[in-house]
């Protein structure tokens, strides 16, 4: 127990205590705390176990760079894994647990891994668990190495998505961002300034550092007050810029309710923004580097800047006896502030031979011992640091000579600062290595955005403020940062010195990878998993690259960085999905008479995006019973079917007929007005694409029927041809599918029903021939009627304006009642068409079916002009003699069960599975014929009618015979009425 809270100061409200639970125990913090600051103030040191070795770990950072304090927040459906505790704002009732300890933090069974650490180095799992298969071991290893648990239930929260188009977007609410916003706002431009956390001012928030002659806290407050009077400025806290994409789009994640007690939350949890700005300014600051030395992962070792942030933001002193180890000036200020807050600074250890005299003087005034040219070489302690051993260090990190031990309960470290260049890099901005800073900094010219302040490697306050209004990226030389990539008592990197805390990668692992010749930084990353954890190596990447560079004696510039990828910090999938979940992802369309079908107890299924009745179940009926009854009603009396989803495209213009000739295998231009023709369309690749009935309404006006659910695609294809290829053709194309609802009345009694209607249309055989169409009125409703049939029975398709569907339907049902009219569903329709051997595109055909395979060879040969797909159908593969063709199949084994769809067809006499000659494409029980029927694609099937074959499915054999596709009324006499 060593962290504690000060009586005064900090951006917290001591009058509002907040109760929360951590690992099942109750704690209290204050309004303004984060989970990390509250636990730090409560003296909790060990907050997690490491990913691989289950070593005890403590908090090291104060932001999203935190690699250790990763929590599972809340339980049940609303649980969120892998949140960084410094970013989790405290709310009443918060319940969090560590993600990688089992069964508990203090007693972790898997900590045994730690004892065997030297036997499980980088890539150990891949090298060892190879026999018989990695998959055997993977689940166990994953359990041991898991980071959090994803929720098992649907996300109870909702998320919002929105866009913004503004003049200037500024990312980062530190002094650089605030100053840039002020400057941009004064020109009257619309400005959006976003910061990921709750507070403004970045690392200076709460400090007494001087900014433009004022204490930082006052400067920040004044700046915010200026903005409240500027309507063109939008300030957004709790809004993290997560990605920077092509053409300057920036994604933001705005956390709306995450900081509230759960029972007070309402509305969307988070909001996803897509922002496009004329000018983008990145002021994302910098991330502190840890020092790499033996045992540097012990709880009680923190980044110096983080300890300073906890002090100023939350009034938390992270320890009582503090040693500060650094390579640069910044950690000195942390030491001074903590000393002034009452903590004991045991010593400042600076790796540089001669730290600035001003700093040394101030340290001495505060009674702090200073050790120059020295570095920590080992942290001592187990569940928390007890002491640190220090020694003289060379500029390469080698410890030599005697060491001494300093007792401490908090060790602060700083290995320098890396500009947070993530968004710059994601936006295709290049990086260069700056030897003065020993960091990668953005290359100014390489991007369309500006980058200022710490993110540009500009760590000096005065120059950051000066840079804010300027047009170009700037960087003033600040004090240099010496590189010290790893500290070791031998010539090789220390195998117990951690580089990537979250993924448990040590300097020794990097040495191993280099020894095994993984020299590219991308290979190193994947072999050791360095930087591949959920923090994407925010604290580890540059140190890792530095170590590799030393080992390979190759410049850091030449090694380069791995690629930065969005998101900057993990975001919920729900945020990316927004409203596009469930029916919002792919809306299911309802028929014009949906409610009527529901009232008739239809069982609905989705066909091509439409919810359609599969069958109408009467009391006591199974679906199979209902289908059987419906089929027989259509064959013997009369049925009615809602065919509204049938694709309907109007094609009009002087060149409409010539255009459709190009689109279809069949000749369309010879069709007379008022007549219909069944036609097949190919893709340019020659394969069967769609079919339907084309009706010529007038000379230059056609109604093109497509398969249900395909109308939009066909319309788009027509338009692509017209716009891109036949650009001079005068043709208009419009998809009118949902303008017209369609009732299909089918069966031998159809005419008796239609004759009773109040209509100007004569439905008699003489006046209304098969494959013709007429326009007229039915009960005062304008209607387009076509006599076409997909069942082999007398059939009229009656299309009326969608809003009139109910009236037409009621009229037809009333007229049909004395003839026992039966509504039928899609399953009955499919059975009827299989009995007739009618092709169903997409069921009987696939992406390899050519027109000659489905019996269109003769029609193609007869047509003289070119059409889409014709040439492709005559490539060598299309001319093969052994192509599959579309035929029927009848079971000959006396088994009444339909053949399985997809079953393989093999020659008679086959006893062992072998390459098949084709497969079953459609199959059903035919109530009309009282037998199972199937359709199939079979090699040379057309020439093998009558031949016996064997049918194999999932190990079972059936006997069958090839037949013609049409098994019912092959002469079509039932249509001739």
């Amino acid at each position: 127990m060593s962290g504690y809270r000060l009586e005064r100061s900090g951006d917290i409200d001591r009058s509002r205590p907040i109760n929360f639970r951590w690992e099942g125990r109750s704690y209290t913090g204050f309004a303004g705390d984060t989970l990390a600051s509250a636990l730090l103030a409560s003296g909790v040191r060990m907050i997690g176990r490491s990913f691989k070795y289950h070593r005890p770990r403590g908090l090291i950072a104060a932001g999203l760079d935190e690699p250790n304090f990763i929590v599972q927040l809340e339980r049940g459906a609303g649980t969120t894994p892998n949140l960084k505790a410094p970013y989790v704002e405290l709310y009443d009732g918060l319940d969090a647990a560590p993600v990688n300890a089992w069964p508990s933090l203090r007693f972790d069974l898997l900590a045994a891994n730690s004892i065997f650490k030297r036997f499980i180095p980088a890539a150990f799992y891949y090298k060892t668990f190879m026999w018989p298969t990695w998959r055997l071991f993977e689940p166990l290893i994953r359990k041991a190495a898991g980071l959090g648990a994803s929720p098992k239930l649907p996300d109870p929260d909702c998320y919002e998505q929105t866009s913004a188009h503004i003049d200037v977007l500024i990312v980062g609410g530190g002094i650089a961002g605030l100053a840039a916003a002020q400057h941009a706002a004064m020109s009257g431009k619309s400005v959006m300034l976003v910061t990921g956390g709750r507070h403004w001012g970045g690392r200076l928030a709460g400090t007494s550092d001087s900014v433009e002659g004022k204490p930082a806290a006052v400067w920040i407050k004044d700046m915010l007050r200026t903005f409240t009077a500027m309507p063109n400025v939008t300030l957004m806290t709790r809004t993290l810029a997560t990605g920077h994409f092509d053409h300057g789009m920036v994604s933001l994640c705005e956390r709306l309710t995450d900081h509230m007690p759960i029972h007070e939350r309402s509305g969307p949890r988070q909001r996803f923004w897509r922002v496009r700005a004329d000018a983008l300014i990145l002021a994302t600051g910098a991330i502190e580097r840890p020092l790499v030395f033996r045992g540097n992962d012990r709880p009680g070792i923190m980044l110096a800047g983080a300890a300073r942030a906890y002090l100023h933001r939350h009034a938390v002193v992270a320890g009582r006896e503090i040693v500060v180890a650094t390579t640069n000036d910044s950690a000195w200020y942390a030491a001074f502030d903590l000393a002034e807050a009452g903590a004991t600074i045991v010593a400042i250890i600076d790796t540089r031979p001669s730290p600035s005299p001003a700093l040394v003087e101030r340290a001495e005034a505060l009674g702090i011992m200073v050790h120059a040219s020295m570095a920590p070489t080992e942290a001592i302690g187990r569940q928390t640091v007890r002491a640190v051993r220090i020694g003289c260090v060379s500029s390469a990190g080698r410890i030599h000579g005697a060491t001494q031990t300093l007792p401490c309960d908090l060790l602060l470290m700083s290995g320098g600062w890396n500009p947070a260049v993530h968004l710059h890099s994601q936006g295709a901005g290049r990086l260069k290595f700056d030897p003065g800073l020993s960091s990668f900094i953005p290359e100014a010219e390489s991007s369309g955005h500006r980058i200022i302040g710490g993110a540009a490697g500009d760590f000096a306050r005065y120059s950051t403020l000066a840079a804010a209004p300027e047009q170009a990226v700037t960087r003033r030389p600040g004090p240099p940062q010496a590189a010290l990539w790893s500290i070791s008592e031998s010539d090789v990197p220390d195998a117990e010195a951690w580089v990537d805390f979250q993924n448990d990668v040590t300097a020794g692992d990097i040495a191993l990878a280099a020894r095994e010749n993984f020299r590219s930084v991308e290979h190193l990353k994947r072999y050791t998993t360095l930087g591949m954890a959920s923090d994407q190596g925010k604290t580890s990447n540059v140190n890792g690259i530095g170590i590799l560079s030393t080992l390979l004696a190759k410049s850091i510039e030449a090694i380069g960085t791995t690629k930065f990828r969005p998101p900057y910090d993990p975001i919920p999938f729900g945020l990316l999905a927004g409203h596009r979940i469930g029916d919002g992802l792919r809306p299911r369309r309802q028929l014009a008479l949906h409610d009527w079908h529901v009232g008739r107890n239809a069982s609905f299924e989705e066909y091509g995006g439409w919810m359609r009745p599969a069958a109408y179940l009467r009391p006591g009926e199974s679906e199979a019973d209902a289908v059987r009854r419906e089929v027989l009603a259509v064959r013997t009396e009369v049925g009615i079917f809602e065919a509204s989803p049938l694709g309907k495209i109007e094609v009009k213009g002087p060149d409409a007929a010539a255009f459709l000739d190009l689109m279809y295998v069949n000749r369309i231009s010879t069709l007379k007005p008022g007549r219909c023709r069944y036609a097949i369309m190919l893709s340019e690749n020659g394969t069967v694409f769609d079919d339907g009935v084309v009706t010529r309404l007038t000379d230059d006006h056609f109604l093109v029927g497509t398969t249900s659910g395909h109308a939009a695609i066909i319309t788009e294809a027509f338009r692509e041809w017209l716009q891109c290829e036949w650009t001079t053709m005068r043709v208009l194309v419009e998809d009118v599918t949902t303008c017209w609802a369609v009732a299909n009345v089918v069966g031998p009694q159809t005419r008796s029903v239609l004759d009773t209607l109040a209509s100007d249309i004569d439905f008699s055989a003489d006046a209304f021939a098969h494959m013709t169409a007429q326009r007229g009125y039915i009960g005062g409703i304008p209607a387009r009627v076509a006599r076409v049939s997909f069942t082999g029975e007398l059939s009229y398709e009656i299309a009326v304006p969608w809003r009139c569907a109910g009236a037409l339907w009621e009229t037809l049902i009333a007229a049909g009642s004395s003839h026992g009219i039966v509504p039928f569903g899609v399953e009955a329709l499919m059975t009827l068409r299989i009995e007739k051997g009618f092709l169903h595109i997409g069921a009987d055909t696939d992406g390899t079916t050519l027109p000659q395979d489905i019996g269109l060879g003769a029609i193609m040969a007869k047509k003289t002009q070119d059409f889409v797909g014709r040439r492709s159908a005559h490539r060598p593969d299309g001319l093969r003699g052994d192509r599959r063709s579309f035929v029927g199949l009848e079971a000959t084994d006396g088994n009444a069960a339909p053949l399985a769809i997809g079953a393989h067809i093999l020659p008679a006499g086959t006893t062992q599975p072998q390459p098949g000659e084709g497969w079953v494409t459609s199959s059903t029980w035919s109530p009309t014929l009282g037998a199972p029927l199937a359709l199939a694609m079979i090699e040379r099937g057309e020439k093998r009618i009558g031949e016996n074959v064997r049918v194999w499915d999932l190990g079972a054999w059936r006997e069958a015979r090839i037949t013609r596709a049409c098994r019912y009324d092959p002469q079509g006499t039932r249509l001739d009425v």
């Binding site: 994409f245 092509d246 053409h247 300057g248 789009m249 897509r274 496009r276 295709a428 340019e684 690749n685 788009e716 338009r719 692509e720 716009q723 891109c724 290829e725 650009t727 070119d866 014709r870 040439r871 492709s872 490539r875 060598p876």
Partner: protein, 95 residues
Amino acid sequence: MLLIECPWCGPRAESEYRCGGESPIVRPADPAATDDAAWADYLFYRDNVKGLSFERWHHRFGCGLWFNIARDTVSHRILAIYGITDPRPVLGPGA
């Protein structure tokens, strides 16, 4: 996400569009007289350019217009937008 200037609707997000690939692809005038290799070239073979690419795009969730774009496939910079029947623009080395 690219920001593409539809000649009809103005600048719109990439998600409103569909890329139709290399442009122009000229359909052989007499397909029946085109040999298999030339036909396969028309159907399947496309340049896979690193750098300046000429392609056609469709404002699918907008006005429905097809038009041409000259785009750098490395930087994603759009260097020219021109009509579907217009010739490929000549772009200087500075473009």
